[in-house]
Each structure stands twice: as structure tokens, then as C-alpha cells.
Amino acid sequence: MERVVDPLAKKPSVLRSQSETIGFAVMVAALVIAPLVGTYPLFLMQVMCFALFACAFNLLIGYVGLLSFGHALYFGWASYLSAYSAKAWGFPPELAILTGTATAAICGLVAGSLAIRRQGIYFAMITLALAQMMFFFALQAKFTGGEDGIQAVPRGVLFGIFDLKNTMTMYVVTLIIFILGFLFIYRIIHSPFGEVLKAIRENETRAISLGYKTDRYKLVAFVLSATLAGVAGATKAIVLQLASLTDVNWPMSGEVVLMTLVGGLGTIFGPVVGAFVILLMQFKLAPIGEWVLVIQGAIFVACVLLFRRGIIGEIANKLRIRL
């Protein structure tokens, strides 16, 4: 009911509540300071790409109540097209990322218009099946390089000025992309459009009876989510200079669900924290091989049974604030 309060009475600020502003400041500060105090920048860039991916996914599950189990499709195909256009066509990074993002948007439009024809559990199965279909296309298509993927993608020179071969330049660019994506998602959530999405999540029948064409809202939300997942995937291809089958396969779809669940479904900062926690775990546990899969599964079970709010959700609930 916060919107009923006269918005003009508030101080103009990017974010709506004090707790969110503080959270945002802490997040940005951490991302600025971390590489300076010796955290591996490549790891942090990866975290930011996956955090944006998880935020995009959270837009659907957290604010429209739609569980997409096939978000690897948009992330992976954006990654392929970004890598391919940079390597084979010699696109500069800004155009390569744009190409990847556009690919994800188109995929999202097609898959979304099919998936929203069914609700709930079927929606999850359809998105998963469509993503698996596109995985097979990626496996068979020539340009994706099959099992090898597209390797040694050139990072190029951004706008003809900034040479991304320099790790710190790449870091700053990734940080800017992440922050812009994050704020864009925040803006969507708190726009009148976002309020309708939340209404659909709470009670779709009632939203329909109020005259909203909910299918259209769901489709737009789906395309936005796919597009932003595409931004994340396309950027990741430039950062890691690699696009591979891992990015489009079903475990990737599961991973983004896990990140969001661990951080907190429907919280603003949850997906970011979740992405960090899961990537850190994979990084630290890499030596024990396949047990990582078992641990991820156990985290899924534990989250569903014990911590459905996720890390950020629990904190916000304890402190009675919004995060």
C-alpha cells in the first residue's frame, strides 16, 4: 500500500525505501572495493553475470509467480551469438552483446508465447522442454562448435576507445552493465506495470476480472526476463571469451533456480547474494568433483523444506525491512 502515500512527499531517490538504498550502496561498494583488495576479478565478473541472470529469472518467479525451468535457453543462445559475432564477424563488443541480447529477446518471444498458454506446473515443463529442444539445436548446429564450443572469443575494443583486454577495463564495463541491468529490473518491479504483474501473481482470476489482459502482461514480463538473461549471457561470453554447451544445457537452468532460491525468491538483492554463494561454493568445492552436484541437490532440499525465504528473505523478515 506504499504507493497510496503521496510520492511527491518523498525525497527523490533512485530506490524507494531506505533499507533498499543502503543495500544497494553496500552492494556497489563491495563490487568496487573487492577487486582492489585482491579478489580474483574474473571470478567477480562471473558473479556479476550470473547475478544479472538470476535477477532476470527472479523477475518471473518472484514477481509474476511463473517458474521457468528453461532459462539456460536465453542465457546460452545469447552467449553463443555474442561469441560468434565477435569472433567470426569481428563485431566490436557492444554490437556482439547487442546481437546476443536480441537473439535472447526473439527466443523469449517465441518460447514465451507458447509457454503462457498453460499455467503452473505445465509452464515449468514447457519451458524446460523448449530449452532442451534448443540445446539439441546447439549440439547439432555447425557454428556452435559442438562439444568444443566457441573458444578464444576476442574481447575487442569497446566503442573503439576502451580496450577490454585490460582486465580492469573489462571489470568496470561488466560492473556498469550489471548495475544498469539491476536498476532496470528494479524500475520494472516498481512501475505500474510491475504492480499489475504482482496482482497476477497473487490472484490471476481477479486481475482478469479487473480488465487486465493478463496473458499480454505475462508475455511482456517473459520477454523482458529472457532479454535480460540474454544481456547476462552475452556479457559472460565476452568476459570469459567462451560460449559452450554448458550454458544452454538443463543443469544451467537448474543452477539459476538454485541461486535465486538460496538468495530469496521475490527479493531485490537475493539473486545477487545467491549467485555469489553458489559460484563461491562451486569454486571452492571444484576439487571434490561430482559431489558438488550432491551438495547442490541437498541445498535445494534444505531451502524448500527449511528456508523458503532464502538468505535475504530471512534477513529482511528478521529486521522487518524490505530488501
Binding site: 518467479i61 517458474l67 525451468f69 507458447l114 498458454r117 498453460r118 499455467q119 503452473g120 506446473i121 505445465y122 515449468a124 515443463m125 514447457i126 524446460l128 522442454a129 523448449l130 532442451q132 529442444m133 539439441f136 539445436f137 549440439l139 547439432q140 538443463w250 537448474g254 533456480v257 532460491l261 568433483g289 561430482e290 559431489w291 558438488v292 552436484l293 550432491v294 551438495i295 547442490q296 541437490g297 541437498a298 541445498i299 535445494f300 532440499v301 531451502c303 524448500v304 523444506l305 523458503r308
Partner: protein
């Protein structure tokens, strides 16, 4: 030997048979998913992993007790079904009041655990499991060679599928089940132990998956990832058929298996994706699925 549309008959019927075999597994697995969904309102994502566990159980039973295929076909589903009962009692029963999606997420987590454990102990490469003595060899039908084991798989799967259909649609127990699906509170008021029925239903659905796994062991290798790719295809099958009808699940499963087999003959590049394409078309034409009712 003769030719049909320029394709040698042996190749055509051979692929048709493979299609029927795949269809048997699609039918058994989607049937189990439908039965579980009907009672628990949960999509059992670990169904593929439990199919894999059935195959591994058969393999381990052979390794450690020397019991062969036929005993394994009975013992493995009972063992795996029992783990299903434990899962329902200790984990799933806490989720019934929550959104369906949590059931999907929890069973997805379980699938990761099962697959991860199997990979740790057995590696990713497949382990061989031989066809039982009594079903080796095959029949020469003139237009094709029919291996006995494959004929058995199709027949056994048909029998189990229609047996399940008969129990659910034509017996008193099935009537209780269907009634409990519609209105559990009312059925409980009549003195029927609904929670126990739910537990046993999950155990039975899981046992069906394990049964399919044992039958699959001699055809495909026994490997940790045998279930995860299959289950996604089965999801598409379920979307196409809709989960409202048992008979629908059986027909859709076999039908799609055959279509996939034919695609392998006429357009091999699309054989991996044909079921997903059909799913997309069905969603456009009949959003509720072929046998589904509008919710």
C-alpha cells in the same frame, strides 16, 4: 526384403521397433507421473533418477547376490518404491499445503543428489547389463528381425500400463483413489486413510519408474545420466497428452515413441527434437493437451 518409400523394410521396421521400445518407456514413466500428480499434486522431477536407480538396483543385485534379471524385475521396483515411501513420509508430506512449484524444486534437488551419488560411485560411463538367457536370440519375421528381448519389453510395458489403468478405473481401490483425488476431505470422512493412500501411491509411481529402469538396463547401458535426459522428453509427452487421463498417457507415450522412430528413418537430424516440436504445435492448436481438460 522390400522397400517402402525408398527405405529398406528392415530399416523401417527396425526403427519402428525402437520407436515402440522408447514409447514403452515414455508410457510407463508418464503414467507414473500422472498417477503421482493426481494424488500428490506434485510433479515428480526425480522420476528419471528413480528410473536410473531401478537400473542400478538390478545391476547391484546381480553383482552382490548373483540374482539375475527375473528376480531383479521384482526386487528392484520394491526396493526403489520403498525409498519413495520414505521420501514421501519424511520430505514431500510437508509440501502439500504449499504452491506446486515447491514439490517440483524439492524433487529436482533429489534428482541431483541421486545422479551425483551414482556418478561418484560408478563414473559417467555406462555399465553393461546382459539380456537374460531365456530372452536371447530373436525371430525372423521375413520383413525384419525381431529380438526376443525387445518384443518382451513392449509386451510387458503394455501389460503393466493396462493393468494400472484397470486398477485405477475399474476396481474399488481405484475408485477410492479417484475419489481422494477429487475431494480428499470427504473421502477421509468416510473412514478411508487418505494419507496412507497418498504414501502408497507415491511408492507405486516410483516403483513403476524403477520397473522401467530394470527393463531398460539390458537395452541401454546402466549409467547415472540415463534418467535426466529421458525425463525432459517425458515432460513434453505429459504436456502433449495432459495428465488428466491414464489411457491418454499410455496412448500418447506409445504414439510419440513411434513418431520419433519414424523420424529417425525419414529425417534423422530432427529425431532428437521432433517430440518438442509436436509439443509446440499441440500448444498452439489444443492448449489443454490432447486428452486434457481445461482447468
Amino acid at each position: 526384403m522390400f522397400e517402402i518409400f525408398g527405405i529398406p523394410s528392415t530399416a523401417l521396421f527396425g526403427q519402428l521397433l525402437i520407436g515402440l521400445i522408447n514409447g514403452s518407456f515414455y508410457a510407463l514413466l508418464s503414467l507414473g507421473l500422472a498417477v503421482i500428480f493426481g494424488m500428490l499434486n506434485i510433479i515428480n522431477f526425480s522420476h528419471g533418477a528413480q528410473y536410473m536407480m531401478g537400473a542400478f538396483a538390478a545391476y547391484l543385485i546381480l553383482q552382490y547376490s548373483g540374482l539375475g534379471y527375473w528376480p531383479a524385475l521384482i526386487i528392484a521396483p520394491i526396493l526403489v518404491g520403498f525409498t519413495g515411501i520414505l521420501i514421501e513420509r519424511f520430505l514431500l508430506q510437508w509440501l502439500y499445503k504449499l504452491d506446486h512449484l515447491y514439490g517440483l524444486l524439492l524433487t529436482f534437488g533429489l534428482a541431483l543428489i541421486f545422479e551425483g551419488v551414482a556418478r561418484n560411485y560408478f563414473g559417467s560411463a555406462g555399465l553393461p547389463y546382459t539380456v537374460p538367457e531365456s530372452l536371447r536370440g530373436g525371430q525372423n519375421l521375413g520383413f525384419m528381425f525381431l529380438p526376443n528381448y525387445r518384443a518382451w519389453v513392449v509386451a510387458a510395458s503394455l501389460i503393466v500400463c493396462f493393468g494400472t489403468w484397470f486398477v485405477i478405473e475399474r476396481t474399488r481401490l481405484g475408485a477410492y483413489l479417484r475419489a481422494a483425488t477429487e475431494n480428499p476431505t470427504l473421502v477421509r470422512a468416510f473412514g478411508i486413510n487418505v494419507p496412507r493412500m497418498i504414501t502408497l501411491t507415491y511408492g507405486f509411481g516410483v516403483a513403476l519408474a524403477a520397473f522401467a529402469g530394470v527393463m531398460a538396463a539390458p537395452i541401454y547401458n546402466v549409467s547415472p545420466q540415463m534418467g535426466s535426459e529421458l525425463i525432459i522428453v517425458v515432460f513434453a509427452v505429459v504436456v502433449i497428452g495432459g495428465m488428466g487421463s491414464i489411457l491418454g498417457a499410455i496412448i500418447t507415450g506409445f504414439g510419440l515413441g513411434v513418431i520419433e522412430g519414424l523420424t529417425k528413418v525419414f529425417f534423422p537430424e530432427a529425431s532428437n527434437t521432433v517430440i518438442f516440436v509436436i509439443m509446440a504445435i499441440v500448444l498452439l492448436v489444443r492448449p489443454a493437451g490432447l486428452f486434457g481438460r481445461r482447468a
